[in-house]
């Protein structure tokens, strides 16, 4: 290639200017993506120069190509080492900065000595660069950094006299600590905290962010320390940089948890937070977006902060769509009786805009307002009816979906609008809207004269419908039949046979069977079950589960707070990392929960679920209703479990019975007994000792249900003792447990007895007697026990969670 050839000649020219121009050309080629790695030796030859600009260019080249030419890169080492001793601090810093960016092992070895000197350099510019270089080196070779004692030097730099050096040392340490969560690198104590708070006043805006983000990881000893840190952090709320403000908000939101609510300062702090949060909405749109996503979390955790600031969330015509959607969400969260009139007027305005996603969300928001603020329900319904009159297709469909929810919140109040809804039946082409409409027709069949005709009209294309529509249609027609049995026998036969015989969908088929069996064995029971009164839906939908919310508050300003997902959900290699939690108010720091490594996602667990073989095999597909009647409802273990897993079905049934396969036909194993005896053998009084409970299933993993437990032996019987805590916002009922095959054949001796529903924030102690006659399967490790836990939650529907009980080891 002639171009390369020419450049080669120019690089080796004697004239300084020509050399420099040649290197510039090389960099230019590199920038546009040409491969100029062939010039490596020639470029490196230009490295020894007094010309700073030329040196920078050569360094830049090296950073790009060293990895692909590791052997030749070694040629550069000498110059680097020499440059690290240059009298000019700019060159010393440049050398140490660049060396850290060359990820070649051989070079790394030579970096240690220069780095050690630079960390103690007299010039703060060099020290601050060297501090970052430790993090770079750690990223390449962590062991080397530890062996060389660089971490201690870095920790010492926190006490440096120069604020920029402190800030970079903090940043580097935080970065290293993040990849080594258990290293205890940032052992923050009141002294270091004090140093950080002092540096906070003097360093650049970015340094302030590093320090604030680091402070947020600290847990104050008591409320007094907490308050004094808050007092020193609040001035940052007046910083012009939005990122400084958000990081300060994070520290304050976290430490505020430790302040007693009756403390004057607590109220003062709450008041101080609102204005800066509002001002963030005048920042650039992307920063507004981050701010809004975070405000969404803040109003869920502490609604009082922004309760008077509704107006600032009103949508402006020129807001970008992502800002509009977020504002809308916050408006609903802040909606209350005091401001509902204004909010509704706004929402109605938005619903006539042109942006489809925004309009849809606005219509939904009106429905959510109706559910949240009872006094406004009537106005909301009439607004929705007005919107339906516009005949804009997607507006009508959204309106119908939310009206269904309104019916569920206020039964027997707004059913007069059903006629209007029915007029729009033909225009509905979205599954959710069709399903909602069918639900309404079925639920209120007795008031709709032509309910049978309406539902029948959907049956024709039954197989082309989506699953949710099919399920609703099945349930709707069964409801209709139970209400008007005489005219609709044929219709119900038709839908049952469509669902059970012509469908491949197991959910649909099983629901069909259940109805069929119910109707044919005991129509009275069927009526009680299918037409049972449903629990009212609660005020706030789509709130973030409290444990997750706590974690996200600890991550204010970060991507996690933007995604509303814990970092472990999107950062590779962070699965074992502890979830951050807010400190408790008691003034003592709570120990973080023991994290049980998850074995995959919920779906995987469901599919993996190692079900005990049912006592009878599943029934063959019936050909008539009569034959069905003879079947044992609980006969098919699998079928009934699938039934339980279906939230809608469960809702239709009121409270589903908890099914617990109790008969195990496996060989008896003494394995566990032996283990239990061991405890006695070392002198523990039998039955009196049991290890403390540990968290088996953190609430975050199970829609708010936390399970902690331990094993004990009482009067010779092995007991599994559990504390179930409801950290969700809705009532939990119907608990059931299943033991997966384990090494000891451990299985429950009786069903799990949790008789009362578990209210939010309530805990319950449960003791489950166990025996060892269950099926045996060798587990790795041997004492690993895997449990599947079923719960029914109003709202979230049915949950099935699989987890391990690690503390069997203590026996």
């Amino acid at each position: 290639n002639s171009e390369i050839f020419e450049l080669k000649a120019e690089l080796n020219s004697d004239k300084k200017e020509k050399k420099k121009e040649a290197v510039k050309k090389v960099i230019a080629s590199m920038t546009v993506g040409k491969d100029v790695s062939a010039l490596f030796p020639d470029v490196v030859n230009c490295m020894q120069t007094d010309n700073l600009e030329l040196k920078k260019l050569v360094y830049l080249y090296l950073m790009n190509y060293a990895k692909s030419q590791p052997d030749m890169a070694i040629m550069a080492v000498n110059t680097f080492v020499k440059d690290c001793e240059d009298p000019n601090p700019l060159i010393r810093a440049l050398a140490v900065r660049t060396m850290g960016c060359i990820r070649v092992d051989k070079i790394t070895e030579y970096l240690c000595e220069p780095l050690r000197k630079c960390l103690k350099d007299e010039d703060p510019y060099v020290r601050k660069t060297a501090a970052v270089c430790v993090a770079k080196l750690h990223d390449i070779n962590a062991q080397l950094v530890e062996d060389q004692g660089f971490l201690d030097t870095l920790k010492d730099l926190i006490s440096d006299s120069n604020p920029m050096v402190v800030a970079n040392a903090v940043a580097a340490l935080s970065e290293i600590a993040e990849s080594h969560p258990n290293s205890n690198l940032l052992d923050l104590n009141p002294q270091t905290i004090n140093k950080l708070l002092t540096a906070l006043n003097e360093c650049t805006e970015w340094g302030q962010i590093f320090i604030l983000d680091c402070l947020a990881n600290y847990t104050p000893r008591d409320d007094r320390e907490s308050q004094s840190i808050c007092e020193r952090v609040t001035p940052r709320l007046s910083h012009a940089n939005s990122a400084v403000v958000l990081s300060a908000v994070k520290v304050l939101m976290k430490f505020m948890e430790m302040l007693p609510k009756d403390l004057d300062y607590y109220g003062t702090l709450l008041k101080k937070l609102a204005p800066p949060l509002v001002t963030l909405l005048s920042a650039e749109p992307e920063l507004q977006y981050v701010a809004l996503r975070n405000i969404n979390l803040i109003v869920q955790r502490r609604p009082e902060i922004l309760k008077h600031e509704m107006k600032v969330f009103f949508v402006k015509y020129n807001d970008p769509i992502y800002v509009k959607l977020e504002k809308l969400d916050i408006m609903i969260r802040l909606a209350s009786q005091a401001n509902i009139a204004q909010v509704l007027a706004e929402l109605k305005e938005y619903a006539t805009e042109v942006d489809v996603d925004f309009v849809r969300k606005a219509v939904r928001a009106i429905g959510r307002c109706a559910i949240k603020v009872e006094q406004s329900a009537e106005r909301c319904v009439s607004t929705l009816l007005d919107l339906i009159q516009t005949k804009v297709n997607y507006v009508v469909q959204e309106a119908i979906v939310v009206i269904k929810d309104i019916f569920r919140k206020y039964p027997n109040k707004y059913e007069s609008v059903i006629a209007t809804l029915c007029e729009n039946l033909d225009s509905l082409d979205e599954p959710e809207a069709r399903a909602a409409m069918i639900w309404i027709v079925g639920e209120y069949a007795e008031r709709i004269d032509n309910a049978d005709e309406l539902l029948e009209s959907f049956l024709e294309g039954f197989h082309d419908e989506s699953t949710q529509v099919q399920l609703q249609l099945l349930t709707g027609i069964v409801k209709l039949f139970l209400k008007k049995p005489t005219e609709t026998q044929e219709l119900v036969q038709q839908v049952l046979s469509l669902a059970t015989q012509d469908s491949d969908n197991p959910d649909l088929r099983d629901r069909g069977y259940i109805y069929w069996r119910l109707l044919s064995t005991d129509p009275v029971a069927a009526k009680e079950v299918v037409l049972a009164e449903k629990p009212l839906i609660s005020e706030e939908t789509d709130l973030i589960e409290p444990t997750l919310l706590e974690e996200l508050i600890c991550h204010i300003g970060t991507l996690a707070s933007v995604y509303h997902k814990p970092p472990s959900a999107f950062v590779e290699g962070s699965r074992g990392v502890q979830h951050k939690r807010l400190p408790g108010t008691a003034g003592v720091s709570e120990a973080p929960p023991a994290v049980i490594p998850s074995q995959g996602d919920l779906l995987g667990d469901l599919l993996n679920l190692d079900l005990t073989p049912p006592t009878t095999t599943g029934p063959p597909p019936p050909t008539s209703g009569m034959q069905m009647g003879a079947m044992d409802l609980l006969g098919g273990g699998l079928d009934s479990l699938v039934m339980l897993c279906d939230p809608q079905m469960a809702a239709g049934f009121g409270a589903p019975p908890a099914v617990m396969p109790t008969s195990f036909n496996a060989p008896v194993s003494g394995g566990l007994d032996d283990l239990f005896d061991l405890g006695g053998g070392v002198g523990m009084p039998m039955g009196s000792y049991s290890p403390p409970k540990t968290v088996w299933l953190p609430a975050m993993k199970a829609k708010g249900l936390e399970i902690s437990g331990t094993f004990a032996r009482r009067s010779g019987v092995i007991q599994m003792e559990m504390t179930l805590t409801n950290k969700a916002m809705s009532v939990m009922t119907d608990f059931a447990i299943q033991f997966n095959r384990n090494s000891f054949g451990l299985a429950p001796a009786g069903p799990l007895q949790v008789l009362t529903p578990l209210s939010p924030n309530q805990s319950i102690e449960v003791s489950l007697p166990l025996n060892t006659v269950g099926p045996v399967m060798k587990m790795e490790p041997l004492n690993n026990l895997q449990l599947a836990f079923f719960i029914y939650l109003f709202f979230f529907g049915f949950g099935l969670y699989k987890f391990n009980c690690p503390n069997m080891a203590s026996y």
Binding site: A28, T31, L52, L57, L60, N88, L90, R97, G100, C101, Y125, T129, V132, A135, D139, P163, M164, N168, A172, S174, E178, T204, E205, W206, I209, R232, P235, S238, H239, A240, S247, P276, T279, S282, P285, E286, L287, Y289, V290, A291, V312, F314, K316, Y317, A345, E346, E349, T352, V354, V356, D357, G557, T558, L559, A560, Y563, P567, F570, V571, E572
Partner: protein
């Protein structure tokens, strides 16, 4: 929590800087297609993810600045930094665009190297950067070979040894009024103001020698309450934001605004005032749309401010349907113009005295075949500026300037009120 790399792109990558070695640079190739896909779906978002990689981007004219990360980075820091990049590049090259990047790639690389290290933002003050990273490198070899101590100083925004013959400070107090006016539901009439606030900004042009200590005194109600003073009009500032140079803890404890100013131009502080302001220019509009035939617009503008004051360069922008044609205008003052590419009538009044009222009528034809595309309902917007006046009544009471050499310096103050986000919703 940091950035892995920064890219500048315009359909293709113009320049990039990889700050950490652990993300595949080729990942950026997914950015543009994903962005375009989101745009098509009408779901643009400032964060785009592809597998484990997250792109945080902003757009400057037709250039995309993209930061790439695979960690739980501090998103607000990333966006702040990207905007800072725009600011620094703009100060260096006047315009940040494809050409200026390509023409100055050496300086761009140097800057990217100095602005961020291993994903941690470093020195981003362009005035200080210009002391050791210059465009005509060869000529300033001597100056460039030293790190200004300013970079690592606690006072990182001002260099030592600045000299002026005449020491002066120019203070501009600029207030922008944001107004959002609703409509009365159902009727084609003008509603009331739903939200309004004032965003103020105090800008400095400092031409002072040495390292001067400045103190700014405002008629801040909280300060007056603290010091027990209670004469004259005071202003309640809802929220205040300061330039890096202001000692925040001092302000927090006794409301003193004390600082060593950056040299030259800077924004010292901004504030927000939540009081309900009377819209200085009140607009009443009647827009009647007769489908398939015509649109008739009548706009009345009233100056709701003191008779002695004058609003300059007033622009009332009235939206019209996109398929409107054959415009006709009649104005009692000023000049109306149809801007078809923006679907607007712009009514301009060079000088609008307080208390006066003016009228504009416009008439448009509509095609008999209606445009079946749904159109939004853009608001009427108003632009104006009124000199020698702040709507909040904020005043600079004093500016004390103390420098160890003891020179006398003069502060000059100028007030101006202008329109901010001034939106009046319409029914059509």
């Amino acid at each position: 929590t940091n950035v892995k790399s920064v890219f500048l792109l315009q359909l293709k990558v113009l320049i990039c800087r990889n700050y950490k070695g652990d993300v595949d640079m080729a990942e950026i190739d997914h950015f543009m297609p994903l962005l375009m896909q989101h745009e098509e779906e009408g779901l643009i978002c400032p964060v785009i993810s592809h597998g484990n990689v997250h792109f945080l981007w902003i757009k400057h004219s037709n250039l995309y600045l993209v930061a790439m990360t695979n960690k739980n980075s501090n998103a607000s820091l990333v966006y702040s930094f990207l905007y800072k990049l725009v600011e620094v590049f703009t100060e260096y090259f006047k315009e940040l665009e494809e050409e200026s990047i390509q023409d100055n790639f050496v300086v761009v690389y140097e800057l990217l190297d100095e602005l961020m290290d291993f994903g941690f933002p470093q020195t981003t003050d362009s005035k200080i950067l210009q002391e050791y990273i210059t465009q005509e490198g060869a000529k300033l070899e001597v100056a460039k070979s030293k790190v200004p101590t300013t970079v690592t100083n606690a006072v990182s925004w001002r260099s030592e040894g600045i000299k002026y013959k005449k020491n002066e400070v120019f203070i501009d107090v600029i207030e922008s009024i944001n107004v959002l006016r609703g409509i009365e539901p159902g009727v084609n009439a003008n509603g009331s103001v739903m939200s309004s606030d004032i965003v103020g900004s105090i800008k400095l042009k400092t031409m002072l020698s040495g390292m001067p200590e400045l103190r700014l005194g405002l008629n801040d109600r909280v300060l007056f309450a603290l010091t027990g003073r209670d004469k004259g009009k005071t202003v309640v500032m809802e929220d205040v934001k300061f330039h890096q140079c202001v000692r925040l803890s001092r302000f927090e404890s006794d409301r003193t605004i004390s600082f060593i100013p950056p040299d030259g131009e800077s924004e010292l502080m901004s504030y927000r005032i939540n009081t309900h302001v009377k819209p200085l220019i009140w607009i009443e509009s009647v827009i009647e749309k007769f489908s398939h035939s015509r649109v008739e617009i009548m706009v009345k503008a009233k100056g709701q401010f003191k008779k002695q004051s004058v609003a300059n360069n007033v622009e009332v922008r009235v939206p019209v349907p996109s398929d409107a044609d054959s415009p006709k205008f009649k104005t009692s003052t000023g000049h109306a113009k149809y801007v078809p590419e923006k679907n607007l009538v712009v009514w301009t009044i060079k000088s609008f005295p307080g208390g006066k009222e003016f009228l504009m009528r416009a008439h448009f034809g509509l095609p008999s075949v209606e445009n079946d595309e749904l159109e939004g309902k853009p608001p009427i917007t108003v632009k104006f500026e009124i000199p020698y006046f702040t709507v909040s009544g904020i005043q600079v009471r004093y500016m004390k300037i103390i420098e160890k050499s003891g020179y006398q310096a003069l502060p000059w103050v100028r007030y101006i009120t202008q329109s901010g986000d001034y939106q009046l919703r319409t029914n059509v």
